[in-house]
Point group: C2
Chain length 233, copies 2
Amino acid sequence: MVLSSSDESPGQPAFLFDLDGTLIDSVYQHVLAWREAMQEVGIGLSVWKIHRRIGMSGGLFVSALARELPDVLDAETLARLSDLHVERFIEHYDSVQPLPGARELLAALTDHGVKWAIATSGPVRYAGLARDLLEVPEEIPMITRDQVRYAKPDPDLFLTAAHRIGVDVRNSMVVGDSVWDLLAARRARALAVGLLSGGYGREELLQSGAYRVYDDPADLLVHLDEVGVRPSA
Amino acid sequence: MVLSSSDESPGQPAFLFDLDGTLIDSVYQHVLAWREAMQEVGIGLSVWKIHRRIGMSGGLFVSALARELPDVLDAETLARLSDLHVERFIEHYDSVQPLPGARELLAALTDHGVKWAIATSGPVRYAGLARDLLEVPEEIPMITRDQVRYAKPDPDLFLTAAHRIGVDVRNSMVVGDSVWDLLAARRARALAVGLLSGGYGREELLQSGAYRVYDDPADLLVHLDEVGVRPSA
């Protein structure tokens, strides 16, 4: 008996991409920018602890750091930190490059008729820069921190992205490099694909619920069949 | 029956420390220095792939990177890369700090009568800078790349360090942040303690054979009893 495919198969998944460490090689510039911002307000924190928080929104990042510090930070300093980070990051932006295969992966999805969008914890100021770097067509939505109430690890960014491209988030693959992406994906009931290109370890990503882990966008591109993409749908 | 303790117990272990990412917060400065050096010779490589190789000697690092690149590098460029990295790293050195608890850990070992030494894949030029930063007494040996034939993941650095302080390497704890430290420790038949402060994940360190994993030197200091140190021997 042949089952009706419309009853059985959800069809090709849509793809919801994180930006930093997933499509562009910018995680270390963020690390540097946070370190410089913290030094300006007199906070010393080990660099690895900064790295582990990249991918959270600036606000959550600052709260998470505050938890690690021996002294209580005043509200004014906390607020200033996020702004300083944005300024310092923009200064480092010239050295940011697309990750290998990122442009090709996005173009291939478009060619295969697969819907996709980008959802980032960063502000809209970065997103425009990244759109140029990745040659993202104007009609592709890029959801930024300021468009949702809560950033990752809350699911709002991915839920909004799915809504904007008219897909069911439960039939979407979230592609991200950080534990925060994967946690947000699970809360959105999407499947999550982890990329090592943000500097997290494979095991961390698997333990955070990754359905599959690849090196970088180029590696995902050659394994698209593993995540449900059929050529030229 | 009470067994003679000299037959049964190897006594307090000695400690052989890696330097970068283990005692000083310098891994990201190394990442930057490699990226800058590679750009100068026209090589673009994702930053996470650089990070994963930190802790190898400059020579091995360059060979490992060469394997990842699509084009074959000529011998002259390869040789120049190591030198450029040293130059760029020294420029970033001003921002290097001791990791939390590093000075206190080393001082506590000395107080408890535990022998220790430092063994680094870096050149002697860095080691002097780190000695000042960590307030390492002059009588403590610091083994550097130029003092051994093969750097990590070969065991020579740790074997030489153990020899210089007159201890059996098989009764030593190697403390390091990278997979290369842990692999070198196992080849030397030492036990390895992993620290997360270099940015590797806990699971990677455990899978590379860590006997125990701590956050940073401060965390190891409060758990010294777990790795065989008895107060004031």
